[in-house]
């Protein structure tokens, strides 16, 4: 499996609480890059010199943050009420082990017991606001010694390589992108590259906007994890993407129409290298490209994503080959930009 991926996935980094992930990346990359800075929002902006300069500059972006929760209320009996940070399907929240706050206080998500549930309630998915986290505190005062309002909450999930070339972890969206960028940053590059590890993507591409404004590149490649519903009884157009079918090249999603020239260039690079690729077969979702593309005078944006099952849950699953091929294709992309193949 790709270097750094395991360590990255095991780290917690709920939107706006990306510190741990950022510190890890800084620590790993500081010996091999030329400049690093953290901006006001918390984006980590890393510059590495390459063999040449590209006119206007090339930026790569992947987001550090993951979906999670935040403490909303502490009840008199010590239970914790919480809200989602980012888009989480309530169906994947119940019965999970979670960690709260900087001290990683363990807890479990719960709901009223089944014998208290009415026939009507059984038919619908409970809302997150009806759930609670049990940290086994006897009362509010005891709970408040461990947990504060506004604390982040993250899924507890291990990293597991299993089955045929598959990996299971939390936050593959978008630690796969971060891992791809870290591996690239360790290499000699054909041109100068600014690697931006963005914050707050999951709550609406909030970090990327400021990062793109300060970096002001001509080209941007966004590396992501994207949804896959490749289950047997789902029709092709609703699978969105398929695991093992190769990197997903950005053509169009719910918030961006990617630069046509760069889309065609990336697809041609994959074809030449014998890398299988796919596009999203359902037009939905979005990436940091939506913010980057429309910054300042406009940026030509491209996207390569790894298909991920059970996105935004505690157990996200991806295919090792897709991840490795995403790195390979990203390398080819950087080289093509260095060689002036982007045209226009």
């Amino acid at each position: 499996m790709l270097k750094y991926l395991k360590e990255l996935c095991l780290m917690d980094g709920v939107s706006s609480f990306e510190d741990n992930v950022r510190d890890y990346i800084i620590n790993e990359l500081s010996p091999v890059v030329d400049d690093m800075r953290i901006d006001a929002l918390g984006n980590l902006i890393v510059f590495k010199k390459g063999a040449k300069r590209v006119k206007g500059g090339l930026m790569l972006a992947a987001h550090m943050d993951e979906v999670g929760f935040i403490v909303r209320k502490i009840e008199d009996d010590g239970y914790i009420r919480f809200s989602a940070v980012g888009g989480i399907d309530a169906r994947v929240v119940l019965g999970r082990r979670v960690f709260i706050g900087k001290d990683m206080v363990p807890g479990v998500t719960g709901l009223k017991a089944i014998h208290l549930v009415s026939a009507e309630e059984v038919k619908r998915v409970p809302k997150i606001k009806e759930m609670y986290i049990d940290i086994a505190a006897p009362d509010k005062a005891s709970a408040e010694k461990k947990v504060s309002l506004g604390d982040k909450i993250v899924f507890d999930s291990d990293y597991l390589e299993f089955g045929e070339d598959k990996v299971k972890a939390k936050a593959l969206d978008d630690r796969v992108g971060c891992a791809v960028m870290m591996n690239l940053a360790k290499q000699d590059l054909p041109c100068d590259v600014t690697f931006v590890f963005t914050c707050q993507e999951e709550v609406g591409c909030r970090g990327a906007f400021g990062a793109a404004f300060s970096v002001n590149p001509a080209y941007a490649l966004v590396l992501e994890g994207t949804t896959s519903a490749d289950i047997s009884n789902v029709p092709a157009e609703k699978k969105v993407t398929r695991l093992g079918a190769g990197p997903v090249i950005g053509c169009m999603d719910g918030s961006t129409i990617y630069d046509e020239g760069l889309f065609r260039m990336t697809a041609a690079l994959a074809d030449e290298a014998g890398i299988a690729w796919q596009i999203k077969q359902y037009i939905a979702g979005g990436t940091d490209a939506s913010a980057i593309q429309r910054t300042r005078e406009g940026v030509r944006v491209a996207n390569i994503s790894v298909p991920v099952r059970y996105l935004h849950s505690a157990s996200t699953v991806a295919c090792g080959k897709d991840i490795k091929d995403t790195l390979k294709l990203a390398q080819l992309f950087v080289r093509a930009i260095a060689e002036g193949k982007a045209g226009k």
Partner: protein, 331 residues
């Protein structure tokens, strides 16, 4: 400049959101004799400038049309698709569409799909080939398609055409450019991209031009069809529609007043345009950088986003006149 002829030149181009290249090249050719300067930005917006030392006045009309995008080519050769902009099952059903390479097909629905609950997922494009292999020779996943429909004039002076939103306003801007007399103003006619998917091109255009005044030229709903729900205040044939508000912008009162004053002085037929929803480039541009006093001049159309939209020729003339007069105004 002949309205229908110019419109047909633009209509012959392929130009859904994000694929505006052909439209841009055609507009460049038409604008060249009148422009001091032209440029294109990273997103594909076209800037046509008449240089001056006075106020910087910006207009925009979007080049893109709504469309669909091929997602899955099925074994039998049928093509599933997603939407590009605000296109709905009811407007698409049984229409003809064309791809960039000229491939044409009809849009139909699964046999068991219910008309009143129709979703895009139940629809497909039939390009009339035997199987997937044959289909892939003509259409790849990711290829976009647009309505394929004729344009003609009615005896009552109406134009019927696809993509009136917003090619008819591209025509109006070109007419205004042609009419424009010598002025000290620095006038920018911008032809934007990706309006239909969320005012995306306008965002960078506003940043680049950084204008003193902005007037969007787009279509607006016409409230003159049977049982119209008063979604808008304008109607076809009653003149250029001066924007007071739409779903994305509340026009600057002084720009609205100025447009009305100019119209009165130059005897241009106008009406006041309040649109309860929808959005225009003004939505992105009025909040660009430090903010821009903005309004709009719209052409009311019937059947917006259908394969055949309808507008009054006279409204297009009035719109072009008002744009030119505003561009010449001493600020």
């Amino acid at each position: 400049m002949d309205i229908l002829k110019t419109l047909n030149t633009l209509n012959a181009c392929f130009g859904p959101s994000g694929r505006e290249d052909e439209v841009r090249e055609a507009i460049k050719k038409l604008a060249k004799p009148f422009a001091d300067e032209m440029k294109t930005d990273a997103m594909g917006n076209l800037y046509v400038r008449k240089k001056g030392n006075g106020a910087k006045v910006m207009f925009s009309a979007h080049m893109d049309s709504i469309g669909v995008i091929a997602t899955v080519v099925e074994d039998e050769g049928f093509i599933r698709f997603g939407r590009v902009g605000g296109i709905s099952p009811a407007t698409l059903l049984s229409s003809t569409v064309r791809f960039a390479n000229g491939t044409r097909g009809v849009v139909q629905k699964n046999e068991d799909a219910k008309l009143d609950k129709l979703t895009l997922q139940e629809m497909y494009i039939d390009i009339g080939v035997a199987n997937k292999e044959e289909a892939l020779k003509h259409v790849q996943p990711g290829d976009m398609a647009v309505y394929d429909a004729p344009s003609f004039l009615t005896p009552g002076g109406m134009i019927v055409s696809p993509y009136l939103d917003d090619r008819i306003c591209c025509v109006a801007q070109l007419m205004a450019l042609e009419k424009l007399k010598k002025t000290d103003n620095d006038v920018w006619f911008v032809f934007t991209v990706q309006e239909e998917v969320g005012l995306r091109g306008a965002k960078t255009a506003g940043y680049i031009v950084d204008p003193d005044y902005f007037v969007v030229c787009d279509v607006t709903w016409s409230d003159d069809t049977p049982k119209a729900e008063h979604f808008a205040s304008s109607v076809t044939g009653k003149g250029a529609a001066i924007k007071i508000m739409d779903g994305s912008v509340i026009a600057h009162p002084q720009v609205v007043k100025l447009l009305n004053d100019i119209a009165k002085q130059k005897k241009i037929k106008v009406q006041q345009d309040v649109l309860k929803g929808g959005g225009t480039d003004a939505g992105a541009i009025h909040v660009s950088r430090a903010g821009v006093p903005s309004s709009g001049v719209s052409v009311p159309i019937r059947y917006c986003h259908y394969a055949q939209e309808m507008a009054a020729l006279s409204d297009v003339e009035d719109t072009a006149k008002l744009l030119a007069a505003f561009a010449e105004n001493k600020f």
